[in-house]
């Protein structure tokens, strides 16, 4: 995989994505109220907060699944009122989901290959024959996918339908699918829920490696405070849809409002 972003005029440390004064409500429910924060190029940015704080909704706003009533989103210097899912995807935002959203009927390989759809250009005509250009393209992308599979150590389940995999592996496949899009910005929604320690460690390593090796910017939602504190560069804390804190792990850890609202005990 290439290092994304390098050719797009965004240097490390620059703001890759900024959310300004975003508000989102569903009927009476205020999911997000006037939240602003930014994500810098190359960092791991965590979003934490109690259940129902609006974290998932925030990710949904960022990649265009929810459309905020108010506020603006600036991505790679371009400011919009809202994202469109297709635009977000084609401009390098990919994600994983809180409740695994894999394509259940397909194998691991196909799931990750599906992540490459945006990169595939082959004509419909050659697809019919599965020869010539279509086959060449298929093999080329297969190589990339195999790289990801090796990276995530899921070789053994390559051909297994994902619906039958245990939860932890499904999460891993989902990460693989997101990586296949070669994202600039990777949104991870509770990637470690339902995993035991060992698997969390594996997952952490993957996240760090992705961040280090490919320079991918990561936004991470996670309830395991240990993981969040260890991995992230900066943390936003939401509560009832509002931002209550924003800063480095150390700052957030000792912030009394955060302790009251979320952590419960100092970590």
């Amino acid at each position: 995989m290439r290092a994304p972003g390098s050719d797009k005029g965004v240097a490390a440390g620059d703001v890759l994505l900024a959310v300004d004064n975003v508000s989102l409500n569903f009927g009476g429910v205020k999911a997000i109220t006037d939240v602003s924060f930014d994500i810098r190029k190359g960092e791991i940015r965590a979003i934490i907060g109690p259940n129902g704080a609006g974290k998932t909704s925030m990710l949904n706003v960022i990649n265009g699944f929810y459309h905020p009533q108010q506020g603006r989103i600036t991505y790679r210097g371009e400011t919009r009122q809202k994202m469109r899912p297709y635009v977000a995807a084609s401009q390098g935002i990919s994600r994983t989901f809180q409740n695994v959203a894999l394509f259940k009927g397909m194998s691991t390989l196909d799931n990750i290959m599906a992540g490459r759809t945006l990169k595939m250009r082959g004509s419909f005509f050659w697809q019919l024959f599965r020869h010539g250009p279509a086959m060449r393209e298929e093999i080329e992308h297969r190589k990339v996918v195999e790289e990801i599979i090796d990276f995530l150590e899921i070789q053994a389940i390559r051909k297994t339908p994902v619906g039958k995999l245990p939860y932890g592996l499904q999460k891993r496949v989902e990460l693989g699918r997101a990586l296949a899009m070669e994202p600039d910005l990777l949104l991870l929604d509770e990637p470690m829920a339902g995993m035991n320690l060992e698997e969390k460690e594996d997952m952490s390593r993957f996240i760090i490696d992705v961040n280090n090796q490919y320079g991918t910017t990561i936004a991470l939602i996670e309830h395991d405070i240990g993981v969040v504190m260890d991995l992230s560069d900066r943390i936003v804390v939401l509560e009832y849809g509002r931002k209550i804190a924003d800063g480095t792990p150390d700052q957030v850890k000792s912030d009394q409002t955060v302790i009251d609202a979320y952590l419960g005990v100092p970590h």
Partner: protein
Amino acid sequence: MRPTEAEATMTTAAPSLSDVAPAAAAETILAVNNIEVVYDHVILVLKGVSLTVPKGGIVAILGANGAGKTTTLKAISNLLHAERGEVTKGTVEFEGQRVDKLTPNDLVRRGCIQVMEGRHCFGHLTIDENLLTGAFTRRDGNAAIKRDMDMIYDYFPRLRQRKGSMAGYTSGGEQQMCAIGRAMMSRPKMILLDEPSMGLAPQVVEEIFEIVRTLNEKEGVSFLLAEQNTNIALRYATYGYILETGRVVMDGAADALRENEDVKEFYLGVAGADRKSFRDVKSYKRRKRWLA
């Protein structure tokens, strides 16, 4: 994954860390005897699992992804049928009676209910209605049901705020609370909890386990929980079983398990006294397995 040398030194029999089997200590409410489970007629998942839950006890099943925790719980609550799985060997006894041929409905009536992994709230029903369906098997009148509803809302204030919204729209954590609350509404003698902590904020996790403890102490409800969060599970449970690829590989009192070096290293993540940072995990670290 390759087996490590450590595996070679392990005996095939499951080592028991405590000499007292839990059943001996108190009356048994649930006994699972050597069950084997097959999915789709061909996939063998449980290869002979036995466990017991004493009346009024909290027992944890621990183990990696895919070890068969969920399958064990479903085998007990008879929900396997709905997934084309079946118990091909062994028995399950609840309060001394065999229950493996009953329907889930019968089991709930007898006081054993499962909270399924992954929430499974009724998306099109409101939180309120979700809780009410939990009381489906109850016959003790609306007043009692009302009282219990209030109790659950007291346990989960977040739910009270969202009581009128359709469960499908609530956040992951809210759904988890709803699922647990719903099970409590049936006033069970025993709850099978599958991954209660998944997706919950840390202090809610603590709260839930506190609730488990309260119910256990005040109302005498027994618990069998499958949990990935070994740390907290072993703090609240009295006894634990460790499952690996469909077999019990170790069991013992919770304290004993907590002190076991292997458990410490692989499930609790404590090397010596200190917790290590997730940043320091080395990529060559491979798991030691008890059994192939």
